[in-house]
């Protein structure tokens, strides 16, 4: 009986752990009218400018936040899965081959929300607490 209780307690702690580790949550946001489907792989391809359109065929305009930014760091490590030096080499390859330019960069997440709210082509990332009714949350990380 007692061991069962301990088991339940351990289980409860284990379930709460992910919450404790990632206290700060981030979201990928788009315009409310954007009906395209999203998963982390697709968002990754859009921000690496490999994929130029959403799954509904409309043009995708990724917007990033200038460093230093905890949102940017989390997005790079969790969604893009690349280190800063890997990304710099990657952008050098794309930019100097004339194929693409990196995502537009803005100062803060308030600007990301404003851009996403006013342009159906824009996709950005912010802390989940910055999400409001003018934008649509499509992914959490």
């Amino acid at each position: 009986m007692k061991s069962k209780l301990i088991n339940k307690l351990v289980l409860a702690i284990l379930m709460l752990m992910p919450l404790a580790v990632s206290a700060q949550e981030y979201s990928v946001i788009v315009h409310p009218s954007n009906e395209a489907a999203f998963d982390s792989e697709e968002v990754k391809r859009i921000f690496l400018v490999k994929q130029k359109t959403f799954s509904n065929g409309k043009q995708a305009l990724p917007v990033s936040i200038k460093p230093p930014s905890d949102k940017r760091d989390a997005f790079h490590s969790k969604i893009l899965e690349k280190t800063d030096s890997q990304l710099r080499t990657y952008w050098a390859m794309l930019v100097f081959s004339g194929k693409a330019v990196p995502a537009k960069e803005v100062e803060n997440e308030r600007e990301v929300v404003e851009l996403v709210a006013t342009n159906p082509n824009v996709i950005g990332y912010v802390s989940s607490s910055a999400v409001n009714e003018q934008v649509k949350q499509v992914l959490n990380f």
Binding site: K50, A92, M93
Partner: protein, 360 residues
């Protein structure tokens, strides 16, 4: 009626002149460069060709200019759909004479398709588009056994499209153009240069295929030969023949592990033998360090095999420092090549080079 038309024309011209400065503000400058040092390990070693395009070569002395270069690119946004791009390059091996390597106008047909007209990079190899941007790859130079074609640009048109089918990306580029390369006593006239280049991407894997054909005309200016019967002038007949170039590449980027491999086959109507070349390169990222090893070969009238061992160090933002050792074996029974006859011979040469690559 006519006066009315002239008036309308003048009005639109004035409007255009008035609008131009507004757009001219949208010019972006960017660039890259390399400062390199290199030498051969043995004083009597045969020269090591480091850059077949610019003619950069290492010999027994310590050389600073053979692979050093700087490039500045200007991108002007003409309107929402049209960009004008110019890249000016100055290379040490060419006495830092400024050359316009890129000069084109690109039209964004739709988010996935771009049409380019002007002078642009001939997309023969995987690294062709950013051939001189050392910062974008782990070596000091892509393997020269394969990257051996001395022409890297083409003037004409090309169309590039990228589309994702679910999680599989397909980039297609087709091109057509011509180029005249005047290298002093030899004029290479490239015409009907056309090709297709396919790049398939899935997650961390990339496959690339190229099929390319062209007509190569060579004119050699008359030269004087010293013979036992005195000096005589030789006027070689100009010739023209078709060349077919085919290439396949496989690239993998799995975590910190990097794999690069390319194969090319060149079928030249003017030569009996086809030319084959290939390389395989493995690299592994450990923090700011990327050690790598590459094996490459070239098989034609001449045969070359090269082992390259090196390391890239990303010691500061937008700057990398590279150390490289190359060990090349060369052998030929003699014969005719595209650039003239060669005598039988065999040698081994070892080159050491250090390069600082930067982007801005």
């Amino acid at each position: 009626m006519r006066a009315c038309r002239i008036y309308a024309f003048l009005c639109s011209l004035l409007l255009l002149l008035h609008l131009t400065p507004l757009y001219a503000n949208d010019i972006q400058f960017t660039g890259f460069g390399t400062a390199a040092i290199g030498t051969l390990l043995g004083n009597d070693d045969e020269p090591f060709v480091a850059d077949p395009v610019s003619g950069g070569v290492y010999d027994g002395e310590i050389r600073f200019d053979q692979e050093s270069m700087v490039a500045v690119r200007a991108i002007a946004q003409v309107n929402e759909q049209i960009n004008a791009v110019v890249q000016i390059t100055a290379k040490g091996a060419q006495h830092y004479e400024a050359a316009i390597e890129w000069a084109y106008v690109e039209y964004q047909l739709n988010p996935e398709t771009k049409v380019t007209a002007g002078r642009y990079r001939l997309p023969l190899y995987f690294y062709s588009d950013f051939l001189d941007t050392g910062f974008a790859y782990h070596w000091i130079r892509p393997p020269t056994d394969l990257y051996s074609i001395p022409v890297s640009t083409l003037t004409g048109v090309n169309v590039r499209n990228t589309h994702y089918f679910g999680s599989v990306g397909l980039s297609t580029q087709i091109w057509y153009g011509a180029e005249k390369d005047d290298a002093g006593d030899v004029v290479a006239d490239i015409t009907k240069s056309q090709g297709i280049n396919l790049l398939l991407e899935y997650d961390w894997l990339r496959f690339r295929l190229v099929h390319h054909t062209l007509q190569l005309g060579i004119e050699i200016l008359p030269f004087i030969v010293d013979t036992p019967f005195g000096l005589i002038q030789v006027s070689p007949e100009p010739f023209k023949h078709g060349i077919t170039f085919q290439s396949a590449a496989f690239m993998a980027d799995w975590g910190n592990f990097i794999w690069r491999s390319e194969y090319t086959n060149i079928d030249n109507e003017g030569n009996e033998d086809e030319e084959d070349s290939a390389y395989g390169s493995i690299a592994y990222r450990i923090g700011d360090w990327t050690p790598h090893y590459t094996y490459s070969y070239f098989k034609g009238v001449e045969e070359r095999q090269t082992h390259t061992l090196g390391v890239r160090w990303d010691f500061a933002m937008n700057t990398s420092l590279k150390f490289e050792y190359a060990n090349q074996h060369y052998e030929t029974d003699g014969g005719d090549t595209l650039v003239g006859p060669v005598d039988a011979g065999e040698y081994r040469t070892e080159a050491l080079s250090i390069a600082l690559d930067f982007i801005f």
